[in-house]
């Protein structure tokens, strides 16, 4: 704040000084000065050649006048005064003042709000700023002239914008344990069972699947589907005071019953400045700086500490660069650039109140609100990462040498970059407790029990805690050397060859608080391979990943079959690699930070923890540098191979200039990538092979299941989206037609057809983590057809135009109108069909569906009420997987379209000043784009009533009005 004010006042003083100096100087300027080139008019008869005047004399007279004029303007080496733009003795400044306003009064009510009966979506936005540029001029001290030039911009935003959310909360009776009105997805009553009544079924036949007539465990339903008040967990009851009650009933049944429209408040201020200085003909330098501060007041889903939505946070972003350019000769240039950037954010969270104590959870926990996940479609209570302080700094030094040698244009460059990331974000300092239906279900029978009933009983099947006491300071270096050669091989055929040698060092932690699971290291606690190893211990260095050295070639050919024809054929090839990323958080520091985890020994019968007992009093103390410190947790595993993501791209295009300022471009391209970084949703070396699904209900026993894992001491592996196992292909054909400025109209139309395939995209995890080839399918984000139209039309009205060339007052109304617009049509994305229930003993993370042979999923008369035919799919049986592809190649969601338009009117004020009014309309046709349909398929007995149904359309016209004074 202080810095801000100081800058403002310093600038004010400087400007006042400039203005005063200018006024004084202007008064000394000869009054004979005439304005601009306008004054060139009316030369009388001066243009007429005198009879008999020799041409040489005429030319010499003209040249002499040119010499005189340019000398007077300071444009020659023998000028006695310095050049000033505008011709005066003082510098001229250019720039603009801007103000933009948005208000929901101008907008249409968004479709998703209107469909819920909403009448308003609050929006108040003010955006203002200025830009000024010109020579640096300090009266009586320094006149930058054309040597020192600055640009300074400021922009501020004050905004309040409504955010909407439609979710499901427990209905009023459920909050006190009454589930008599609770129904399953098909609307049938949902029975809730009493976990305290669980007993082994003596009649159970282990050779047959668990069914209602062959139960492994017996369990009694609660009387009248009501949990007695005395059985409700006291912590759960206290937590209910933080859980809002439903406020709408979109349905079906009691689902989608909580609709929030909450304002997000944003305050942003940013400056950017640049100074260019020319020392002499050969040396120049420029300095850039950008400073931004922002406060993001997030929209609140709950207005209390249990809010599972986004957090208030402070963001900063600063960057700058200093560049020196040395022109060694007309054909040789050397430049050195130093860049830095620094950005980060901090959550604003209440750490004064001890919420676990307030809720009555015993144990040594953090003070922030704990997280409760209810796995039956209900909104969570609390959230992860309440505390976040993350700052990223990047420093880069670049040296470039460009020269021309025997027809080759060569550029050599070297770059060194250091990335720094300081991160403090414990996931769950007060714990995370997960509740699913199993403990209140009839054991082994889907579509019974409810996660919220389990929550009320306080029986978590999984609980974890983050013991993180200090930030992690991640560092990484990157070096590269690059050579670019451009050469004309023969007339009309040009080659650009570009090769980049890149050396990327893996990340290290500043204080060596760095670890990974080594799959071959001994784990003494269990006597199995797979233990934690730590940086700088034993034979270990500071890091566990390998430095990567790669060569990135890039070749492009441009061929003009005939230069006069206006045709160009371009051919491109490129191979590129990605380096190890630096991600926020503490991943890779297990042992220095601990994540004690409690898992249910039997996910049908025995809870991991009871809420009222919490984690107990013996909470782990960090650090624990034992190889077994990560046992029973989701252990952090770093890839130690040389594989990093590699992309190979090919492209071929043909451009042709046509009559009438038309340009047509046809192109085809292919991008092929492998070793893309994926997370544990795609690849998990500790997954249970799908063959073991044959063990069926035995898989519900944690000790049995654990022994089926390759590394039984761990739950799963956490890969932090850094395991190189992803593949991706993109094939594209496109056509682009451009019509340039004819009668004020410029149009660009593009159509693109693409097919994108991969082995990782889509909701949830992939089904078979041991067979990634089988997961090769169309990408979930692939929209095959994309068409866009961009246009600028300056109306041909007014002076200098074709129509209504009024020169009187009417020109102020008629002239200066222009329309700019863009329209986009995007075809639908492939639908990802998923099973509503997952009774696989947690072997399969996300379950696909089965395709029913002979039944088409596509409907001829599809509508938002029924977009596809749910009968084309069936729910897999218990302990089996679905046979449908990850994303359906021939079943697509709704297409989307958007049309934006800007109308502007320019009012010239003086020769150098103008005022411009702009109205920007986003989605100006107020089209609501349909969401994708519900793709969950239920069982025959519990079908998903929403399957195939589109719940809402989204979007609405947004208008922004703006004024800009250009000077």
């Amino acid at each position: 704040m202080v810095r801000w004010r100081l800058v403002s006042w310093l600038w004010l003083l400087l400007t006042v000084a400039c203005a005063v100096g200018q006024q004084q100087a202007v008064s000394q300027t000869p009054s004979t000065a005439a304005p601009g080139v306008q004054s060139e008019a009316n030369p009388g008869n001066a243009g007429a050649q005198s009879p008999g005047e020799p041409a040489a004399d005429v030319v010499e007279a003209a040249i002499e006048q040119f010499r005189t004029a340019t000398r007077e303007r300071g444009l020659r080496s023998d000028s006695t005064k310095a050049f000033q733009a505008g011709g005066g003795r003082l510098p001229q400044y250019h720039g603009r003042l801007t103000y933009n306003i948005r208000n929901d009064l101008f907008d249409a009510i968004p479709h998703q709000i209107r469909q819920r009966g909403g009448q308003q979506s609050i929006l108040r936005r003010h955006q203002f700023g200025f830009n000024v540029s010109g020579p640096v001029f300090i009266p009586k001290l320094y006149n930058g002239g054309t040597r020192t030039f600055f640009t300074l911009s400021y922009e501020g935003v004050r905004e309040s914008i409504a955010r909407s959310l439609l979710e499901t909360l427990p209905i009023q009776p459920e909050r006190v344990g009454d589930f008599s009105q609770t129904v399953d997805p098909s609307g049938a009553p949902l029975p809730i069972y009493d976990p305290a009544s669980t007993s082994l079924n003596p009649a159970f036949n282990a050779s047959l699947p668990v069914r209602t007539d062959n139960l492994q465990y017996q369990r009694s339903p609660f009387v009248n589907n009501r949990i007695p008040v005395a059985r409700l967990d006291p912590v759960a009851l206290r937590t209910m005071s933080f859980f809002p009650v439903p406020n709408t009933n979109v349905g079906p049944f009691f689902r989608n019953n909580f609709f929030v429209v909450s304002p997000e408040r944003n305050v942003v201020d940013g400056f950017t400045g640049r100074v260019d200085h020319i020392f002499n003909d050969r040396h120049r330098a420029n300095l850039n700086l950008t400073i931004t501060d922002a406060f993001v007041g997030a929209a609140k889903w709950f207005d209390n500490a249990a809010n599972p939505g986004p957090m208030d946070r402070i963001e900063t972003s600063n960057s700058g660069s200093l560049q020196h350019i040395f022109t060694i000769s007309p054909e040789t240039i050397h430049s050195t650039t130093f860049d830095f950037s620094s950005s980060g954010f901090e959550n604003q969270v209440d750490q004064e109140t001890n919420y676990p104590a307030q809720l009555g959870i015993p144990g040594k926990l953090g003070s922030v609100f704990p997280a409760f996940n209810i796995l039956d479609g209900y909104l969570d209570i609390g959230r992860a990462n309440l505390i976040r302080r993350n700052y990223r700094h990047t420093y880069t030094l670049t040296n470039t040498y460009s020269t021309r040698l025997r027809g080759h244009n060569l550029r050599f460059s070297g770059r060194a970059t250091q990335f720094q990331l300081n991160s403090f974000q414990p996931d769950y300092p007060s714990g995370r407790f997960r509740f699913q239906n199993a403990f209140t279900a009839l054991p082994g029978i889907v579509n019974t029990g409810h996660g919220f009933a389990t929550f009320l009983l306080g029986e978590a099947d999984f609980a974890e805690l983050s013991v993180v006491d200090q930030p992690s300071y991640w560092r990484r270096w990157y070096f590269s050397g690059r050579i670019v050669d451009q050469v004309e091989l023969r007339r009309g055929l040009n080659l650009t060859f570009d090769v980049n040698l890149e050396h990327s060092k893996p990340r290290v932690e500043k204080f060596d608080r760095h670890s990974t699971v080594d799959l071959s290291a001994p784990n003494p606690e269990v006597g199995l391979p797979g233990g934690l190893v730590f940086a700088r211990q034993g034979d270990n260095g500071r890091t566990f990943q390998r430095p990567i050295t790669v060569l990135e070639p890039r070749v492009s050919l441009a061929w003009n079959p005939n230069a006069e024809s206006g045709s160009v054929v371009r051919l491109n090839y490129a191979r590129s690699y990605s380096a190890w990323p630096l991600a926020y958080g503490h991943w890779g520091s297990q042992g220095f930070n601990l994540y004690p985890t409690v898992i249910s020994p039997n996910r049908l019968t025995t809870p991991a923890v009871l809420l009222r007992d919490g984690f107990g009093q013996s909470v782990a103390q960090a650090p624990n540098l034992s190889p077994s410190a990560a046992n029973n947790t989701q252990a952090e595993l770093q890839s130690r191979t040389n594989d990093v993501p590699m992309t190979v791209s090919y492209g071929l295009s043909y451009e042709r200039e046509m009559p009438g300022n038309l340009l047509v471009v046809l192109g085809v391209s292919r991008d092929s990538a492998r070793n893309l970084f994926v997370n544990e949703a795609t690849f998990d070396p500790n997954a249970v092979p799908l063959d073991f699904l044959s063990f069926r209900d035995l898989l519900n026993d944690e000790s049995f299941l654990r022994n089926l894992r390759p590394f039984p001491q761990y739950q799963r592996f956490s890969l932090n989206s850094m395991w190189p196992a992803g593949r991706y292909n993109r094939d594209e054909a496109s056509v682009r037609v451009e019509k340039r400025a004819t009668g004020g109209l410029t149009v660009r139309a593009t159509y693109r057809f693409s097919k994108q395939m991969d082995n990782y995209s889509g909701p949830g995890a992939i089904q078979d983590k041991y067979n990634l080839n089988k997961e090769w399918a169309v990408a979930s984000f692939n929209s095959p057809h994309v068409a866009s139209l961009n246009y600028v039309y300056e109306l041909p009205f007014g002076p200098n135009k074709d129509y209504f060339t009024f020169s009187d007052w009417r020109r102020y109304l008629i002239a200066g109108w222009s329309f700019t617009g863009t329209s986009t049509l995007v075809s639908g994305r492939p639908l990802s069909m998923r099973a509503a229930f997952n009774n696989t003993g947690s072997v399969v993370q996300t379950l696909y569906v089965n395709v029913v042979d002979g039944v088409s999923a596509n409907l001829e008369d599809r509508s938002p009420e029924l977009w596809y035919n749910p009968a084309a799919f069936s729910h897999p049986d218990d302990f089996t997987i679905g046979n449908a592809p990850r994303n359906m190649p021939n079943l697509f969601g709704p297409a989307r379209q958007n049309h934006d338009l800007s109308v502007s009117k320019r009012f010239p004020l003086t020769s150098g000043q103008s005022l411009e009014f702009t109205a920007v309309g986003l989605n100006f046709m107020n089209i609501g784009n349909l969401d994708d349909p519900d793709t969950e398929i239920g069982t025959v007995r519990a079908p998903n009533a929403n399957a195939g149904r589109i719940l809402q359309s989204v979007g609405g016209r947004i208008i922004q009005l703006g004024l800009r004074l250009n000077f």
């Binding site: 601009g36 007429a48 007309p330 006069e564 411009e916």
Partner: protein, 337 residues
Amino acid sequence: MRQLLNILIVALFLVASTATAEEPVPPNAAKRKQRREESSAPRRGAAKGTPAPSRLIVPVWRPSGIQGPWKLEDFRAKVGATPLTLRGGRFDDSPLLLFVAIDFSADLILTESAKDSLANTLRGAGENLLAGLLRIPEQPMVIVDPTANREQFIEAMKGLPMSGRAGLFEMVEVIAGVTSPLVREHPVRVAVLYLTDSEISNYREDYTNPVINRSDARDLSRRFPDALIREKVSSLTNTLQRSSVPMFVVHLNYRNDTLNEAYQTGLRRLAESTGGRGVFCRSIAEIPVAVGDMVNAIQAMGMLEVEAPGSLSGSFTITLESDLGSLTYRSQFQPPR
């Protein structure tokens, strides 16, 4: 709020200080003022109180295929239905002062190709062409005064270093200001040829309106980011409408991003507003053809001196006709002040 007030005060001072800055001062301002005063005096035969007629310079090209000497009698000019008097003509045998303005900032291979192409073209150009060399945005701008010594020009051009910054937008008015009087006051043809590889983000002044606040996700002010470029082009077009020297642009490096498309379209519009032309090369092979065609077009250009009634105000359209066929010429003018 206090901060906002500070900003507004600063900004207003800036506007105020700019508004008080001088308007461009043309060369020989005092001398021309005297001439203007003389020329604005009632002429013999002019009705009392009627504004004096003004002389306009109209660049014109004959229909292709027409050979032989130009004759003033071949042309007729009018504004609407009102015939205009043709006071004189400078045709392809008249002296031609060609000012070549170099605006090279980025790409050595393209600029070297352009230099070679221009050198080859000038070596074969007519003897009545005198070439002068300007560089922008550097100072001093004048490197070589118009000269018939082609080798002197070529040697100076070859020795020009890269500027590192684009400058065409910033200097186009200045160059129009110092060249327009030449064609008005001397019986010579004058043209300015800009060779540039500039891109819009390489200007010292900011025409790209870059994002300042990366946190501001709902910024619509940059939804159509070419607004500032179009504003600058509109402003320059209004000024150049009063220039008498046609401007020709050969852009060496066609770019197809939104901002540079608006920039390149703007350059073409600027050139056309002065009666000139703009071409854009999409590969190095097109550069020699573009440069050669442009210099040939300049050499083939004629200039007619047209007397326009002093009563004309605002912008007006001149129609030029000829029995020779369809002419290419500058039609839009603003009356001299």
